[in-house]
């Protein structure tokens, strides 16, 4: 069954939907979209470094995404004007990555695979890495779920309850870096954040609780992944962008729903 490239692609898409669901809900609640962009764009620099030093692309992107996410968390702790700082970092990381890739002589790099994903080329080993990474993200977020929610509602309330909001921020930072590394081959660096926020935003009118919203987000993400793959085959369109198109259409449909009180 895993011999079929389409089955592997579908399973890879479902893994990313599973990991991006609960994390995407936090990205929406905590307004971390730009934070996600900076982390995701850093992955391109990671690709260049991985190819240059001949290490695995997954390890390279995970490392650079983690460094970027930690750097951004540090900055936000110092009360910088975050919007501008993140805008600078997000685009600087992308530009540095693109320039760094061009320095790689001798390696023919299909850059668009990293920018927009190459889900139809996912092999067995890569599929295993994607699922392990996705399960690690889900495990991490579930483990800290109540603490993360409390810190998201109010850092003061979390502190009064004996929690450490800084540690919860770190948990989200690590989870985000993992999702970036996992999703790079599926939707590409430019569209990872779309997969985090679009299904979560679409899920909001359907949910009455944070848990409900996370579950519906996973479902919408899974639907988007499968729908996008189908569309990509049917209309011969690129798979990664097609997945995001499917998610965006589901979001548009969700706007017609009344918000549940």
């Amino acid at each position: 069954m895993l011999d079929d490239f389409l089955v592997r692609a579908a399973l890879a898409g479902l893994a990313v939907a599973l990991a991006a669901g609960p994390l995407g809900a936090f990205v929406v609640w905590r307004r971390m979209a730009y934070f996600g962009e900076a982390t995701a764009h850093a992955a391109i620099l990671g690709v260049a470094l991985a190819l240059g030093f001949e290490i695995s692309v997954f390890a390279g992107t995970l490392a650079t995404a983690l460094v970027m996410a930690l750097a951004v968390t540090q900055l936000s702790g110092r009360g910088m004007a975050m919007d501008t700082a993140l805008g600078v970092l997000a685009h600087a990381a992308l530009a540095f990555g693109l320039v760094a890739v061009s320095f790689l002589h001798g390696v023919r790099v299909d850059l668009s695979a990293y920018l927009f994903g190459d889900i139809l080329a996912v092999g067995r080993d890569e599929l295993a890495v994607i699922w392990l990474g996705a399960l690690a993200v889900v495990g991490l977020v579930l483990w800290r779920w109540n603490a993360l929610l409390t810190a998201t509602v109010s850092e003061e309330l979390a502190k009064a309850s004996g929690l450490d909001p800084a540690r919860e921020r770190l948990v989200l930072t690590v989870a985000l870096a993992l999702v970036v590394a996992v999703a790079l081959q599926v939707v590409g660096a430019l569209l990872i954040v779309a997969l985090l926020i679009v299904p979560a935003a679409a899920a909001r009118p359907l949910a009455r609780s944070p848990e409900g919203m996370a579950l519906v987000t996973v479902a919408i993400g899974a639907l988007s992944a499968l729908g996008g793959l189908w569309g990509s085959l049917e209309f011969d369109t690129p798979a990664g962008p097609s997945i995001v198109v499917a998610a965006s259409m589901l979001f548009a449909a969700s706007l017609a729903l009344p918000r549940r009180a």
């Binding site: 603490a147 109010s154 309330l157 919203m213």
Partner: protein, 265 residues
């Protein structure tokens, strides 16, 4: 320290600060604050906007790190905190029941009883964003009380409540103190309602201007310099026995002549 009602034994004290300073960048929010609170005490912190009231609370909670001095907590201290306001994001669906189970799970009957106790029974399934101001404050109080706190911290907790609502809220707080023996630290500018219920009032303006029993503090020149004549007669609600206990507040502003408010008794 001026006006401190005697030195207490440290074992009794729930939380204390010694020489506490809080700084935001170049701005000094608090300087040299010595503060302590014992079980069962009701202490009110008053001060104008920007006087460092919220900074004191944030330092006590551990949200901001002291730039100077230290915060000493009794080991195992449980704190219940009712914030000034809580902006729950529209995009996070959250029912009252779920909110009360953050971060620790609470049973349905425990939640129902607590909601009844604070006067908003049956709101479990309501979204937080659909509550009125008064309901919201009571839900916040319910969450704080579910932790069975030794110390309850209320930061401008009656903001947005009308006068009967405020009075009822404070009645509830006194009742909580009677029933649980918790110490209560209130930060407020609702001077006349709050202070009558307090054992001790601390007047803050970047540092501790003066402190003591309510009638002592309202008579203190430091207090009048801060809140002075702008209170339009609310001062008359207090007994103003001019016992000059405030003279022990040897403070840099002491040599300023205190103007007697025309409406003071």
């Amino acid at each position: 320290m001026p006006c401190l009602p005697g030195q207490r034994s440290m074992s009794q004290v729930l939380i204390a600060t010694r020489g506490l300073g809080v700084r935001y960048g170049a701005v000094n929010a608090l300087e040299k604050v010595d503060f302590e609170i014992e079980p069962g005490e009701i202490v009110t912190v008053v001060g104008p906007n920007g006087s460092g009231k919220s900074s004191l609370v944030r330092a006590l909670l551990g949200v901001v790190r002291p730039a100077a001095g230290q915060v000493i907590r009794r080991p195992g201290l449980r704190v219940g905190y009712v914030p000034q306001k809580l902006a729950v994001d529209e995009r996070m669906p959250l029912t009252v029941k779920r909110f009360l189970s953050l971060p620790e799970r609470r049973g349905a009957s425990e939640i129902a009883q607590m909601l009844m106790r604070v006067g908003v029974a049956g709101l479990e399934r309501r979204q937080l964003t659909a509550l009125s101001g008064g309901q919201f404050q009571r839900v916040l109080l319910a969450r704080a009380l579910l932790a069975d706190p030794h110390l309850l911290i209320l930061d401008e907790a009656t903001q947005g409540l009308d006068q009967p609502g405020t009075a009822a809220f404070y009645e509830l707080i006194e009742q909580v103190r009677r029933e649980t023996g918790a110490a209560i630290l209130m930060v407020s500018h609702d001077l006349h309602v709050v202070m009558s219920a307090s054992d001790r009032v601390i007047c803050l303006n970047g540092h501790v201007c003066c402190q003591g029993q309510p009638h002592v503090v309202t008579a203190a020149p430091e207090y009048r310099a801060l809140f002075g004549l702008g209170t339009h007669g609310t001062m008359a609600l207090y007994q103003h026995r001019h016992d000059h206990a405030h003279d022990r507040c040897n403070h840099e502003r002491r040599d300023e002549p205190a103007k007697e408010p025309a409406d003071a008794g």
